[in-house]
């Protein structure tokens, strides 16, 4: 589960390569934060809090992956929040209408994938930037969802579905967290061992060269957007199971509250916006850092209000540090 880089070239450097990886820095920061918070607030490491943090993390990790998979092909998906809410409301609506739980979840995920695929198809057909297309579709999807749901929350969910959101193994590990870890393993396999996964990385690092060497770039980009929609839908459905209700405003107006968490995890983890690489472990650690920081600040009574300021500063430091790292190791194969 390390970052895969399609354009990495062997190079000589003073510091061993693994030490300069963003994952190492992230893990160190997380360890320090856990140590500090647990010494100030003894309740921080309690099984109850650990369970709550891990459950929040699970959703954030999946959300981070939903952005990571489009960043990998050099695109982005501003509609993750909107798609997540659409899939969640579809699932909740079907359960309220008596559709069996597994079918409602599968169809909910499929609706997320379909909305993502529409993004991808519009991107490749029109040649517009994915930024512009998903900016438009985040508004459209959210509007349609409001029209269909009447902006009402759906609370009559399947009992097993809610039980899944609360289930734990070994006392403290939420089942949802196991889902996220499983997803990380699947994505690692996907990008390392499958043709379509490797084609995505190749497409992201150099679309022209990929096209010329016979990679089906159009299909690859559409699949990446569909995968992003699927994962955004999964995040939305997991959040619904956790809160026990399908709420149209759960990602804020037009889903914009999910933008920051969706980008921050992969970017902290070392995914390049330019595409061509995925940081699967990094994204997991990025989401963990955000979750631990949020929970810790709440425990030491700094309060919810300052969290965003800290997140912004951390994101800033992370990208600036990354920048310095690439300046200090001039032999790096990829350049800025």
């Amino acid at each position: 589960m390390t970052a895969l880089d399609a354009s990495s070239a062997p190079s000589r450097r003073v510091v061993p390569r693994w030490l300069t990886r963003p994952e190492i820095g992230l893990a160190a920061i997380i360890a320090i934060m856990v140590a500090v918070f647990s010494s100030i607030a003894p309740g921080f490491l309690s099984p109850f809090n650990a369970f709550a943090v891990a459950r929040d993390l699970s959703v954030a990790i999946v959300l981070g992956y939903s952005m990571m998979v489009v960043l990998a092909v050099g695109g982005m998906n501003l509609a993750v929040g909107s798609i997540g809410v659409c899939a969640a409301m579809a699932t909740a609506g079907m359960q309220a209408a008596g559709v069996p739980m597994p079918i409602s979840v599968i169809l909910g995920l499929a609706s997320g994938a379909a909305l993502g695929a529409v993004n991808g198809i519009v991107v490749v057909r029109t040649g517009l930037s994915s930024f512009m297309v998903t900016l438009a579709t985040m508004s459209i999807y959210f509007g349609v969802m409001l029209l269909l749901s009447g902006a009402e929350a759906i609370r009559s969910l399947d009992a097993d579905f809610i039980a899944f959101g609360r289930a734990r193994i070994f006392g403290t590990v939420p089942v949802m967290f196991v889902v996220s870890i499983g997803l990380a393993l699947i994505l690692t396999y996907f990008y390392r061992a499958t043709d379509i996964g490797r084609q995505m990385l190749f497409t992201g690092s150099n679309p022209k060269a990929s096209e010329l060497s016979g990679v089906p770039v159009v299909r690859t980009v559409v699949v990446a957007h569909a995968l992003s929609g699927l994962l955004a839908g999964l995040a939305g459905i997991m959040l619904t199971a956790r809160t026990g209700a399908g709420v149209p405003s759960m990602a804020g107006q037009i889903g914009r509250d999910w933008l920051l968490p969706a980008f921050i995890a992969p970017v902290l983890g070392g995914s390049a916006l330019a595409g061509g690489s995925v940081a699967i472990l990094g994204t997991l650690l990025g989401a963990t850092l955000v979750g631990v920081l949020g929970s810790g600040l709440r425990m030491v009574n700094i309060g919810d209000f300052w969290i965003e300021l800290f997140l912004g500063i951390i994101l800033l430091f992370a990208v600036l540090a990354d920048r310095l790292r690439s300046v200090w190791s001039p032999v790096s194969g990829t350049g800025p």
Partner: protein, 323 residues
């Protein structure tokens, strides 16, 4: 066959947009006479005035081929700055406005300096400052609005001459100034040159760092003006001001002919796009359409216009090649 002058007219900037606008106004006036009442026109023009500086702020960063995600959260910070200075510290209004404008300018300059100094993508830097500004706003106010705004500020946001809001006059002056910056000044030309081709701008000896910092500073200043006007209009300095700026800030300049890749912006185009958005919004209300349609129509409009612009560019390019 379409006559050549007509074809050229159809391909000219803003003509398509102006035509749609005229048709929309005429259709709406016929469909519902309430549209032409003085009060309704005042509502439409007020919405136009409130959004103008928001759109111009984003347009300025689009000019250099960058973007500002932090526009809205900087607006929120400026709004609570005005509110806090007036209500908590009793600072006189002109001074409070001056300080608030400086906060906006400083926020924009900070974005510019971070981007220019680090070379990191403006999307990521402004995503980080979006979070930081928003956190600062929420942390300082604990998400509680300031309610006691000076009467002069409220008057600024609500004074009207018939159907014309006072604010419209203010933002038109600002818009003309921004138009002059981009069409008549060296700084404006340098910004567009940098947006069109940063490498070429650097090679021809322009101070690219200064251009980037100036563009973001101007953008922050415009966001601050928008925030102050919004406080005046709402009569409350809410920390949530700016939260709904993101989509419109991109939609209006892009519909008005700006390109995401930089080098081309149009103040008249942006204003026409805003007028069109305001009228569509008003039409949905007047015709009793479900307000949730607003989101769908806005998104659809962005796709349609951006797609059409792309086709038009392709057409122009084809012609240029054919010649």
């Amino acid at each position: 066959m379409i006559p050549e002058p007509l074809k050229r007219l159809a391909l000219a900037d803003n003509v398509g947009l102006a035509t749609i606008l005229v048709v929309a106004v005429a259709a709406l006036a016929i469909a519902n006479p309430a549209f032409l009442t003085s009060f309704n026109l005042y509502v439409v023009l007020t919405s136009l005035a409130l959004w103008t500086c928001v759109a111009l702020a984003q347009m300025t960063t689009l000019a250099i081929g960058q973007m500002t995600l932090s526009l809205g959260s900087l607006g929120g910070l400026v709004a609570v700055t005005v509110g806090g200075l007036c209500e908590v510290w009793g600072v006189p209004l002109p001074l409070a406005i001056a300080i608030a404008l400086l906060v906006g300018l400083a926020g924009g300059l900070l974005n510019g300096v971070l981007i220019a100094a680090s070379g990191v993508n403006s999307f990521i830097i402004t995503l980080a400052t979006f979070s930081a500004f928003h956190g600062l706003t929420l942390g300082l106010t604990r998400a509680i609005p300031f309610y006691n705004m000076p009467a002069a500020l409220k008057a600024l946001g609500n004074a009207r001459y018939g159907a014309i809001p006072l604010m419209l006059g203010i933002v038109l002056v600002v818009a003309v100034a921004v138009h002059i910056v981009f069409t008549r000044t060296r700084l404006g030309r340098h910004m567009l040159a940098y947006g069109g081709n940063p490498q070429a701008a650097l090679l021809s000896g322009l101070s690219t760092a200064r251009i980037v910092i100036a563009a973001h500073g101007l953008s922050g200043l415009l966001a601050a003006i928008a925030a102050i006007l919004t406080v005046g209009r709402l009569q409350v300095a809410q920390p949530t001001i700016g939260e709904d700026w993101l989509i419109v800030s991109f939609a209006a300049p892009i519909i008005g002919g700006a390109s995401l890749t930089g080098g081309h912006v149009s103040v008249p185009g942006t204003l026409l796009a805003l007028a069109l958005l305001a009228i569509i919004n008003d039409a949905l209300v007047l015709l009793g359409v479900d307000p949730f349609w607003v989101q769908v129509v806005l998104g659809g409009l962005i796709l349609a216009v951006v797609g059409a612009n792309r086709l038009r560019e392709g057409h122009r390019l084809g012609e240029a090649v054919a010649r």
